[in-house]
């Protein structure tokens, strides 16, 4: 039973990692034809760094991802506090629904609806004048904050309140209790939440495509249009860099806080 189970589990993991390993291997392929091996080369990395369109898009994506991660960590944490600590207020059912729905909502619907909001808001209030970095960031915050909320919520749910109560009993004002006790204790979840929001933003194609304007292409949008034209070895190099950076980031965050890598969903 156990041998069979763990053989199956090993195959399942191989399934998860095979494509990633293949991409990394092909990124060092000298041949311009993506799938024919012709020896080791790092030329696609050089070509990638020379590609101005990709570099510009990468810069935009990094800016959006950083702002998104920061704002959605703040909003997501507030949402998590609301869900865990405020069991009674008017409209709580609606609030729970609003936090859970972005986790599963098909991206085409979220993207279309946000675009319609921005268009309507421009005709009502004259804002936003043009769609670009601001509208993309707002859209990303809207779906990322739900994921951050789930992460922080699971941390708060298993949280020992007696430390907070002791501090309050000893006369500490609530804001001080929050910054000295609560925040450090939930910090690992906040770090995971920030990283998760950052990655999700860096990865989003569909919602960004709807809410971006001319001249504001994010990295996934450029990658997508390149892939549409055919396979490109540059993308393999880009993918490898991506996986490398994220891999290092994850391992670092796990080492920093052993319980850091909480589970994104329950």
């Amino acid at each position: 039973m156990n041998v069979r189970l763990y053989t199956f589990v090993s195959f399942a993991f191989a399934f998860l990692y095979l494509p990633i390993v293949a991409l990394v291997a092909y990124s060092f392929n000298a041949s311009p034809r993506v799938t024919v091996w012709q020896g080791f080369s790092t030329q696609w990395y050089a070509a990638l760094l020379d590609d101005r369109e990709i570099m510009q898009a990468a810069l935009l994506s990094l800016k959006v991802a950083t702002m998104n991660a920061t704002f959605s960590t703040i909003l997501g944490t507030l949402a998590a506090f609301t869900l865990v600590r405020h069991s009674r207020f008017r409209g709580r059912t609606l609030f729970t629904g609003l936090v859970a729905a972005p986790l599963v909502m098909p991206e085409v619907i979220t993207g279309l609806s946000l675009l319609l909001l921005f268009v309507a808001s421009e005709s009502w209030f004259g804002w936003p004048k043009e769609r670009g970095i601001t509208t993309i960031t707002i859209a990303h915050i809207t779906f990322s904050l739900a994921f951050v909320a789930v992460l922080v919520q699971s941390r708060l749910a298993t949280f020992d309140r007696s430390l907070e109560e002791a501090a309050l009993d000893l006369g500490a004002p609530p804001w001080k209790v929050y910054f000295v006790i609560t925040l450090p204790l939930i910090a690992p979840a906040l770090v995971s939440g920030w990283l998760l929001a950052f990655t999700m933003s860096l990865d989003d194609l569909v919602i960004s495509s709807f809410v971006s304007g001319p001249g504001s292409n994010t990295l996934p949008m450029v990658v997508f249009s390149m892939v549409r034209k055919g396979l490109s070895p540059e993308i393999n190099a880009l993918a490898t860099l991506f996986i490398g950076v994220i891999g290092v980031g994850i391992v670092a965050s796990v080492l920093l806080a052993r319980r850091g890598l909480s589970v994104p969903t329950r």
């Binding site: 199956f8 909502m105 279309l112 609806s113 904050l145 609530p174 990655t199 709807f210 996934p220 994104p264």
Partner: protein, 298 residues
């Protein structure tokens, strides 16, 4: 921020800020989608007409109509696209459950240093780019790609077979991309189970399959519902996977919406497609939320 100690103002801030944000940027947009799905497509910027017009005499003329929806119903193209999307999402969810359950079970029952490592290995691909992982399959499945090379080397086939741009490739892509979403809630549900129940059943003479069917499976039901929700609902509207791995005729509804919007610039029809998709998804979404809320209340 602690309950019962904070001032009304702090409480208002904690609840109000995310509430306001989600209200403006998540709830209001849906109302706009509904509104524009009832309007007429016109050649203008933005390309939709008003829902009512007031003429010089002050008479209000209602322009709203359900024409877009009757168009969706009449043209079998849309019906087929919905059906195909729901069917594809359903089978992908079943396959992901069949692969994900043993994985989650194996991880939950593994000894400790292993358990965390395996769990991290499930989460890790989820943190790398989704777009890039789908693209990786495009590379692997190509006519002259490694999978065909392997099949020919094994002697299964004599010449490259068409795998990319088939429905099989879409299923593969969806199961692959959404598998971590299935495993994580299942793991959380199975890990929490009280093993003494299993031991008691075994002591009373129940064979292992019986223990599994009457104890483990029903008790992990919340995890199954959450996992299936996280796979099925987004998969119905999936755009990237059918676009990149499916054939040009693989019209799943998410792809149809995308094309109506970007290629045809028909915003009202795109909105109607979105509204109709939501109608289909309302029941699964409610179900998912109920189980989310229940898990949260623990």
């Amino acid at each position: 921020m602690a309950d019962g100690h904070d001032s009304g103002l702090g409480r208002l801030f904690v609840i109000g800020t995310p509430y306001l944000w989600l209200g403006i940027f998540f709830l209001v947009p849906f109302i706009l989608v509904l509104k524009i799905s009832l309007s007429e497509s016109i050649l203008a910027q933005p390309p939709y007409g008003p829902l009512w017009e007031t003429d010089a005499n002050g008479h209000v003329e209602v322009k709203a109509s359900a024409d877009n929806f009757s168009y969706l119903v009449e043209d079998s193209f849309y019906k087929d696209a919905y059906f195909k999307a729901v069917k594809t999402a359903f089978y992908s969810t079943v396959i992901a459950l069949l692969i994900g359950y043993p994985m989650a079970y194996g991880i939950a029952r593994a000894k400790q240093p292993w358990r965390n490592t395996l769990l991290m290995l499930v989460v890790l691909p989820f943190w790398t780019s989704f777009l890039i992982r789908v693209y990786a399959w495009k590379v692997i499945l190509q006519g002259n790609g490694p999978l065909n090379g392997l099949l020919m080397w094994l002697g299964v086939v004599d010449e490259p077979v068409q795998i990319l741009y088939t429905d099989f490739a879409i299923y593969l892509g969806i199961v692959y991309s959404y598998l971590p979403f299935m495993v994580l809630p299942l793991y959380a549900a199975i890990e929490r189970l009280d093993l003494t129940l299993n031991e008691a059943a075994a002591d009373l003479g129940a064979p292992p399959w019986r223990v599994f069917v009457s104890i483990t499976l029903p008790l992990s039901l919340p995890g199954i519902v959450a996992g299936c929700g996280l796979v099925f609902i987004p998969a119905v509207g999936e755009f990237v996977i059918p676009e990149m791995l499916g054939g040009p005729n693989a019209a799943m509804i998410g792809r149809v919406l995308w094309n109506e919007f970007f290629a045809n610039r028909d915003w009202p029809i795109a909105s109607a497609v979105a509204v109709a998709m939501l109608v289909f998804l309302v029941v699964p979404i409610m179900l998912f939320q109920r189980f989310e809320a229940r898990a949260e209340g623990r």
